[in-house]
């Protein structure tokens, strides 16, 4: 009919944008992109971005492009909930994140309630392991890390008394690590003195450091983010060059070196992959990351990459009526940068933790 033909003409004249593209597959990223631990979030986001771009370059998932929606949790509970809601409203299939256990406390119950999947690159608090929930973990828990640390420093470094600074703003993680470490170290025969602090730009680090050193420890363990760890290291080294410094994985980012300078030389850190690993995928990832973002991926970047590959792999491999969660549990192993990995029935995985030390501004694996 004439009318309809004309209407079609009108419609055609109006559509300037492209249409008819295939509906994209949306995934979300939730992490701290502003605030003090932004380096973790940023590395995470970048790792996810690289994985998404890789998959899109290979044709997407069954021909559909992958779209990444990024949300900031600002390391704040309210913001995290709002961000998670926004991601759900954006109809994402699954979320990579959160990056910290503090945020996991808030978001995981939501995920279980609403039924969306979280694949976290860097949540390692013990309490999230061995639970049948919607949280998938790519790293081993704090227990493995703490055990290794305790043993290494007890035996190799000859440390007997450790003062532990732990950040109460990420309680879930720091207290988990503290508990595991204390348990292991004390079992070995060492002594642990925990010192809590609340991370803030204007906190009095000097005072905290003096309090710690007054206890005459052999070592100071920093369960803190990279910025705080760097500052603490600097303050400690100003007055004491002998005490052994080591930190939990949370601090193991490039920023630590940037901000810590010489103070962090010789500091022991944790990592889940060897920087000197020869896996070709890892090398490729590092090269791409450095080229694009002009810095090293760090454990967060690699873990986020692995988490994204798992999430997208499960999306690609699942059957028609399988949920993503079922696919993640059953359709492994998924390609990781260093090695393929899969999830156990609780959605946990395990990796071998390593001890690294800072030498000339580089992370070098020692165990």
């Amino acid at each position: 009919m004439n009318v309809r033909a004309v209407m079609l003409l009108l419609a055609a004249a109006f559509t300037l944008g492209a249409c008819g593209e295939r509906e994209p597959v949306r995934i979300g990223f939730l992490g701290g992109l502003t605030g003090r631990a932004a380096d973790l979030g940023e590395s995470g986001r970048n790792g996810v971005q690289i994985a998404v771009d890789e998959i899109n370059a290979a044709g997407g998932i069954h021909g559909r492009p992958v779209e990444l929606i990024v949300r900031d949790d600002g390391q704040d509970a309210t913001t995290a909930i709002a961000a998670a809601n926004e991601l759900i409203a954006g109809r994402v299939q699954g979320i990579v994140g959160p990056m910290t256990s503090a945020m996991a406390d808030v978001v995981v119950p939501m995920a279980d309630r609403e039924g969306f999947v979280l694949v976290s690159p860097s949540v390692t608090a013990r309490k999230f392991f061995a639970i049948d929930d919607h949280l998938f973990l790519v790293m081993s828990s704090t227990r493995e890390e703490a055990l290794l640390s305790a043993e290494y420093h007890y035996r190799e470094s000859g440390v007997r008394h450790v003062v532990v600074f732990h950040d109460t703003t990420n309680r879930s993680y720091t207290e988990s690590f503290l508990a595991e470490f204390s348990g292991a170290f004390q079992q070995l025969g060492g002594a642990v003195t925990p010192l809590a602090f609340a991370s803030a730009p204007d906190m009095d680090i000097g005072k905290l450091v003096r309090a710690a050193l007054a206890k005459r420890p052999d070592a100071v363990l920093l369960i803190a983010n990279s910025v705080d760890a760097a500052r603490f290291a600097q303050k400690i080294r100003e007055v004491n060059l002998a005490v052994v410094l080591f930190a939990a994985q949370w601090a193991t980012t490039d920023r630590l070196v940037e901000l810590g300078g010489k103070a962090v030389e010789g500091m022991f850190l944790h990592n889940y992959f060897g920087r000197d690993s020869t896996s070709p995928d890892l090398t490729r990832l590092r090269t791409a990351y450095i080229q694009r973002f002009r810095r090293e991926p760090g454990f967060a970047g690699v873990a986020a990459y692995d988490a994204t590959r798992a999430l997208l792999g499960a999306l690609a491999r699942r059957n028609g009526n399988e949920t993503l969660r079922q696919a993640l549990l059953t359709k492994g192993p998924f390609p990781g940068a260093e090695a393929p990995f899969s999830f156990d029935r609780f959605g946990d995985s395990s990796r071998v933790p390593r001890i690294t030390v800072v030498r000339d501004g580089q992370f070098v694996t020692v165990r």
Partner: protein, 669 residues
């Protein structure tokens, strides 16, 4: 035009109401008109709008770049000046200068790093004064800005990096100052302020992105746009639109984006405007056109039915009047309305109504007359039926009688035929007997006389026999026996002839015979009858004529004809001649004529003369069958034909044509 085919299709499916057609027509006209106009307007205007927008964006992007460069250059200048004289200033003064520089605004921290990268002095806002202690003496030797300042020995604006002060993302500037390095962090509010400068009150996204593709500052951006990394989009994979513009996605919507670069800062400045329908100006224009379109449709939907109703009202009243007319109501006038054609139609309808009325009354009259005629006809019909019945009955009776008469006649015919046969047979027997009578009588007489003479002789013998008596006796004996022989011979001949005739007449033996011989035999048979008359029979039949036929029937034919001639033709006359002649007509047929010069046959009889029961002597001994039998025999048995030629007073001639070879047949008549 396809509009009209719409109506064609509608009539194919079923007729539309006038009102509906009018409404649809008006709607279509409105729609088509507005569509054409709308599309034209949009096609003309929209590209113009988009081109304007794009130009505005290009200007915005480059303006943004310029603003940033200028503002940052200002800060750079400020600090650069300090750096230039840093070598000759005492540390405290330097520190105060840096504090002052911070106070000028735009910076959130200024660090003074010594050769080893340790913070000698840091200027921070008063709000964060407590952090000062944390920072002074901090080792920033691994800080990328410090490193680049040392390596490149020039001022460098960083990409986004983590502030040692806040731990949050910030943008930094490093300025070599002799052996030292001044590090300044830009405050985010300042960046936002720069962007806000000179930007007209609009909602288009503006974005500044560093070399790593990270957000430095922006305006009207969604959170995800702030948080995400832009290297992919700017790295060449984005669509190019309108030459130098990119198609990027802001807040999930496609935007046309102008891109400007600052080589000094290494940053990219983006000014975007929604593409296509998302663009507010485009939307407004399209919205206006659509509103106009819909408005005109609504208007026409409202007005069209009214107008259609108005137009079709006179038609409705016309139709109503016509309907009442059709049901016989001739009263009432046809209303006039505003439409000329309908008025004409009304006038014509009125004339038609009058004519119809007239016709109607005429019809009624004719109907009455017709009714009457019909009744009359019915009446007549009844009478006719009665008459017919009577006639039929009469006819039936007559038929019955006729049938009976016919049967009787047939019986009579049979009887007559038999009678005729018997009669002819009787005649024949009579004739035979008569003929035989004479010779046999003579013979008897002669023998009787002789018997008596013998007796006399015996007596005389007793007296004494004399030669003269013996001679006399012998002479009388000789005479007497001679008479007897002669007569007996004659009787014998007659019987032979009669036998022949009888054989011939009673059998249907077919044989070859001479016609002349047959004729002769018949004449012999009839001689007694002929002898008593004064008539003469001439025979002119060639001896050599031979037929292969049925002599019996042929003889009968001749007999009849001769009998007729004697009995009818020459009756009462004192003299007459019957001529029997025969000759070859052609090589297969022979003509036989029996002609008398008698009274002739009257014309009225002549035609029917061969029909049965035709005679002039009905009641006086004529059966009327003779000639019929003749005709039958000639045509059926002998296979020939017979004709009569006669006039009153001129005599009668029968001409018979016979085939020399008669046809084969089973029975004779």
């Amino acid at each position: 035009m396809r509009i009209f085919s719409l109506f064609d299709r509608s009539t194919a499916a079923g007729p539309w109401r006038l009102r509906t057609s009018l409404v649809v027509l008006m709607l279509l006209v409105t729609v088509v008109t507005f569509s054409v106009i709308g599309v034209t307007v949009l096609a003309y205007r929209l590209p113009g709008i988009l081109a304007e927008e794009r130009q505005v964006m290009r200007v915005q992007a480059s303006t943004l770049a310029d603003h940033f460069e200028l503002s940052l250059a200002a800060i750079e200048g400020r600090l650069g000046a300090i750096a230039a004289v840093s070598g000759s200033l005492p540390a405290e003064t330097l520190g105060r200068l840096l504090d002052a520089a911070l106070g000028e605004g735009g910076l959130q921290a200024v660090y003074l790093l010594n050769e080893r990268g340790v913070v000698d002095h840091v200027a921070v806002p008063d709000a964060l004064a407590a952090a000062r202690d944390n920072l002074v003496g901090a080792d920033l030797s691994r800080n990328p800005l410090f490193l680049s300042a040392r390596q490149l020995v020039r001022r460098e604006w960083s990409d986004r990096y983590l502030s040692p002060l806040t731990g949050a993302a910030a943008v930094g500037l490093s300025i070599p100052a002799g052996g030292q390095v001044i590090l300044a962090e830009l405050s985010p509010e300042f960046a936002a302020a720069i962007i806000g400068v000179g930007v007209v009150n609009n909602a288009n996204p503006l974005l500044v992105v560093d070399r790593g593709g990270e957000h430095v500052a922006g305006r009207n951006l969604a959170e995800s746009d702030v948080l995400r990394n832009w290297t992919g989009d700017l790295g060449g994979s984005a669509e190019r639109v309108g030459g130098d513009l990119l198609r990027l996605s802001f807040s999930g919507a496609e935007h046309d984006t102008a891109v400007a670069r600052s080589p000094r800062l290494g940053w990219t400045f983006l000014a975007a405007s929604p593409a296509g329908l998302a663009n507010p100006r485009v939307r407004v224009t399209v919205g206006l056109v659509l509103a106009g379109f819909i408005g005109s449709i609504v208007l026409s939907l409202l007005l069209a039915p009214l107008w259609a109703a108005r137009m079709s009202a006179p038609l409705q009243s016309l139709m109503a009047r016509t309907r009442s007319l059709a049901s016989g109501d001739f009263s009432g006038a046809f209303a006039r309305g505003p439409i000329h054609e309908f008025n004409e139609l009304a006038g014509d309808m009125e004339s038609m109504a009058k004519a119809v009325e007239q016709r109607q009354s005429d019809l009624e009259h004719s109907e009455e007359r017709l009714m009457q005629s019909l009744q009359r006809v019915q009446q007549l019909n009844l009478e006719l039926e009665e008459r017919v019945e009577r006639r039929t009955a009469a006819l039936a009776r007559a038929n019955q009688e006729l049938s009976e008469a016919m049967a009787t006649l047939q019986l009579t015919q049979t009887e007559l035929t038999r009678a005729e046969m018997l009669a002819s047979l009787g005649n024949l027997v009579g004739g035979v007997a008569h003929e035989l009578n004479t010779p046999i009588g003579n013979g008897v007489m002669a023998i009787t006389t002789l018997h008596d003479q013998i007796k006399d002789f015996r007596r005389e013998m007793e007296e004494g026999l004399r030669r003269s008596t013996l001679n006399e006796f012998v002479d009388r004996l000789e005479d007497g026996t001679e008479i007897a022989v002669r007569n007996l011979q004659r009787a014998n001949d007659l019987i032979a002839s009669f036998k022949q005739v009888a054989v011939d007449q009673t059998s249907v033996q077919r044989r070859r015979f001479r016609l002349a011989a047959l004729v002769h035999e018949i004449l012999v048979t009839l001689n007694p009858t002929i002898r008593r008359t004064p008539f003469r029979v001439d025979v002119e039949v060639p001896e050599e004529l031979v037929l292969d036929s049925y002599p019996g029937p042929l003889g009968q034919v001749l007999t009849n004809l001769l009998t007729n001639a004697i009995g009818h033709g020459l009756e009462g006359r004192s003299q007459g001649t019957i001529r029997i002649a025969a000759r070859m007509l052609d090589e297969a047929q022979v003509l036989l004529e029996v002609v008398d010069d008698g009274a002739g046959i009257p014309p009225e009889l002549r035609e029917r003369i061969f029909d049965p029961f035709v005679t002039s002597k009905l009641g006086r001994g004529g059966t009327g069958l003779g000639l019929h039998i003749v005709w039958n025999t000639v045509t059926v048995v002998l296979g020939g034909s017979i004709a009569v030629d006669s006039d009153p007073g001129q005599g009668t001639g029968f001409r018979i044509v016979l085939p020399l070879t008669a046809p084969q047949q089973g029975a004779a008549g």
